[in-house]
């Protein structure tokens, strides 16, 4: 076991993938000499050479588009998009090409590609540096979308993503980059929880609280605060956003009868919307109240001095829990 930060765990995962498979190549802006703006790729170019760790010209469409060509040639490209807000210039290649090639070629072409994206807010950055674009990709068939919330998952899920023959978007919760945790670097991938599986982080009986990536920690904090008031919250870390492990969420909601979903992304058509709808379909007879979403607002990401209002925090999550419990909750007088 090693005690690593989330960035170090990803670095270790990349290193391991580069060692294990000569067909793994890394592509991205500033990932070489600088080691990435977050130092996630620190030291990798030095150790594996600039033909495996490729500093690319400044063009996201080209990073993804050339990775498509590399994948055709049998490589397993791992692309780094520097910040969430810069994935959009590469969007067309991801949704029109990467996602569809396997289907378009009737299974003859595979896109074993991983696209790493540092995402989310809470670090006081300027515009375009705090976005949560995951729903766009969840909406596109052919892509897998995952987001780890701790160093161990960061390591294991990255290795699973690179090993996957399907393209994977790997969303890194950048505000948790410096969180430390024990990581088993030698663990057998086949014994690890599957890439698409959710995890119960805290067991509870009154409410199921679902989150992923950056907000898992906040959700756990909320559960501990609620415990002090006698409310027992079960916290689920989704880990995979596409596909969603409905079996785990469903089993939990059938026990608790209540569902709260929290994420940073805007509410409308976010992961929370899909979860609320799908769980309602599956568990209608078990639900004691309507599922509640605690999310970012439907606004462009605000300047950093306001982000604390936009991002769900412990209080807003507990307010959502109150609503799910049908309590007088935040005294807003509003029924929803």
């Amino acid at each position: 076991m090693s005690n690593l930060t989330l960035t170090q765990a990803i670095n270790a995962g990349l290193r391991r993938a580069l060692e294990d498979d000569p067909k793994v190549v890394l592509l991205g802006e500033d990932i070489g000499t600088l080691g990435g703006v977050f130092r996630v790729t620190d030291g990798l170019m030095k150790d594996f050479g600039s033909h495996r760790v490729i500093d690319t010209p400044l063009a996201e469409s080209a990073i993804i588009g050339t990775a498509v060509g590399l994948a055709y040639r049998g490589f397993r490209p791992v692309c780094e998009i520097q910040f969430d807000g810069f994935i959009y210039p590469g969007f067309d290649q991801i949704v029109s090409q990467v996602a569809k090639l396997h289907a378009r070629t009737q299974g003859m072409v595979r896109m074993p590609m991983t696209i790493r994206v540092p995402f989310g807010g809470g670090i006081g950055s300027p515009e375009h540096h705090s976005e949560s674009p995951e729903a766009y990709f969840v909406h596109t068939s052919g892509l897998r979308v995952i987001s780890p919330s701790n160093p161990q998952d960061a390591y294991t899920m990255l290795r699973q993503a690179i090993a996957s023959d399907d393209p994977v978007l790997y969303f890194e919760p950048k505000r948790r980059y410096h969180v430390k945790g024990e990581v088993d670097l030698e663990g057998d991938l086949t014994a690890a929880p599957a890439m698409g599986s959710a995890r119960i982080v805290e067991a509870g009986t009154d409410v199921t609280l679902v989150s992923y990536g950056p907000l898992v920690k906040t959700a756990v904090d909320a559960a501990r605060a609620a415990a002090g008031e006698g409310i027992s919250i079960e916290v689920i870390d989704l880990r995979s956003l596409s596909p969603v492990d409905y079996a785990t969420v469903q089993e939990s909601v059938q026990r608790t009868g209540r569902l709260v979903i929290t994420h940073e992304a805007a509410r409308t058509l976010g992961i929370g919307a899909e979860l609320a709808a799908s769980i309602t379909e599956r568990c209608f007879n078990y639900l004691e109240s309507a599922p509640v979403r605690v999310t970012g607002f439907d606004i462009p990401y605000p300047p950093s001095k306001l982000e604390k209002h936009h991002l769900p925090d412990l209080d807003r999550i507990l307010d959502g829990v109150d609503r799910a419990l049908g309590r007088p909750n935040s005294h807003t007088g509003l029924e929803y």
Partner: protein, 385 residues
């Protein structure tokens, strides 16, 4: 995968236009001389003054960042001549599409620097009113603004106006698809647009040689766009080159591309660590080409700058820096409910609902702690026990 680490190699080395050498000597340039023959002593001194003030403001802003007053700052030290020379070639009606690094252009445009720093303090996403200054707000998405400038220029042409649009971009930006598409459209529609590329040699940690194997100005002719490579540390030459391009735009000549060859003396932003990727000799080499020092030598040798004038310039720089500091520190945090403003011109009911929900939520806190400008976290009523 190999690439040249520094200067673009390959064919077509270009003539670099210059009017003042690194030693401060005035040299002739057949194309450019005519574009600056009208400048009197005061105008020349003004160019120098702009550069001194801009550098002073930049140092002040970096200090403000170090003191925690700004979250981030993108320094432009070394690029003063490129920014002043280009900005001073423009008319008020010309519309500017800058990147995040054009703080010198902002100053020349007369927009309040205090507003510009708000973007870096995190109090707003907008520096100034684009329509008031004919200058778009800072662009962070690399290259996007080149398309906007081209479109704006197409609009000017459709209306039969004599004005132009100018897009600022970096050397790294020239790799983006948007920039190529902008040049295609600019040429197709003969749009009165100037692509003003500051080749400061680095895109964060990536040398210009990674972005291009030919001089950047050498690419534009391939799109049918005439181009010039100019010494970007020579304010007079940059002014002349931009006037050349502006003249082409105003007289129906269509788009132009200028590569101002300059150098980013500092880090990419205050969050960057350039010691990881660049050597000291490079910095020394460029230090000797400093844009302020050479203009100063030129002015002094020509008898156009005495101690008194220099003292006045220096005082003005201090004054501007002090005003900026004060304004920055006094910038108020935005009011919480402003989150919901201006998302739409015609707001819809769903957003209205979210606004009302959040207003009620904030109001549910104790009056003493419910001040909207205070953090929700800060007044958490229920915290981890």
């Amino acid at each position: 995968m190999t690439h040249s680490r520094h200067e673009p190699k390959g064919p077509a080395a270009m003539k670099m236009h210059q009017l003042i050498t690194a030693d401060g000597d005035r040299v002739a340039d057949e194309l450019l001389d005519g574009f600056v023959s009208d400048l009197d002593d005061q105008s020349l001194r003004n160019l120098y003054e702009d550069m001194v003030v801009i550098r002073r403001i930049d140092f002040e802003s970096t200090a403000l960042q170090r003191q925690g007053q700004l979250a981030l700052w993108p320094p432009l030290v070394g690029q003063e001549a490129s920014q002043v020379g280009s900005a001073r070639a423009l008319e008020k009606e010309d519309f500017i599409f800058p990147t995040y690094r054009e703080n010198g252009v902002v100053y020349c445009r007369g927009a309040e620097m205090s507003k510009a720093v708000g973007v870096w303090r995190g109090t707003s996403n907008t520096g100034w009113d684009p329509h008031e200054y004919n200058m778009a707000t800072p662009q962070i998405i690399i290259g996007a603004q080149t398309l906007h400038a081209t479109g704006y220029a197409m609009g000017l042409a459709l209306e039969g106006k004599e004005s132009l649009a100018i897009a600022y971009l970096g050397d790294g930006a020239t790799s983006q698809g948007d920039v190529h598409e902008a040049m295609v459209f600019a040429a197709s529609f003969q749009a009165p647009v100037i692509f003003f590329c500051q080749n400061n040699h680095w895109a964060i940690s990536e040398p210009v040689g990674l972005q291009s194997h030919v001089p950047l100005a050498g690419r534009a002719p391939g799109y049918g766009i005439p181009s010039l490579q100019v010494d970007g540390n020579d304010v007079l030459a940059v002014l002349a080159a931009t006037r050349w391009a502006a003249h082409r735009a105003r007289t129906g000549g269509g788009p132009s591309f200028i590569e101002a060859v300059t150098y980013r003396m500092g880090p990419h932003t205050t969050a960057d660590d350039p010691t990881r990727y660049r050597g000291v000799t490079e910095l020394e080499e460029w230090g000797a080409k400093d844009p302020l020092a050479r203009m100063r030598t030129f002015l002094i040798n020509a008898g156009k700058l005495d101690d008194e004038a220099e003292a006045a310039i220096s005082a003005k720089a201090d004054e501007q820096a002090a005003a900026l500091r004060l304004a920055c520190i006094n910038l108020p945090d935005p009011e919480a409910m402003s989150l919901f403003e201006n998302v739409y011109v015609h707001e819809h009911s769903e957003l209205e609902l979210q606004r009302e929900q959040y207003r009620a939520y904030l109001a549910s806190f104790e009056p003493a702690t419910a001040s909207a400008t205070q953090g929700v976290n800060a007044n958490a009523q229920r915290s981890v026990s």
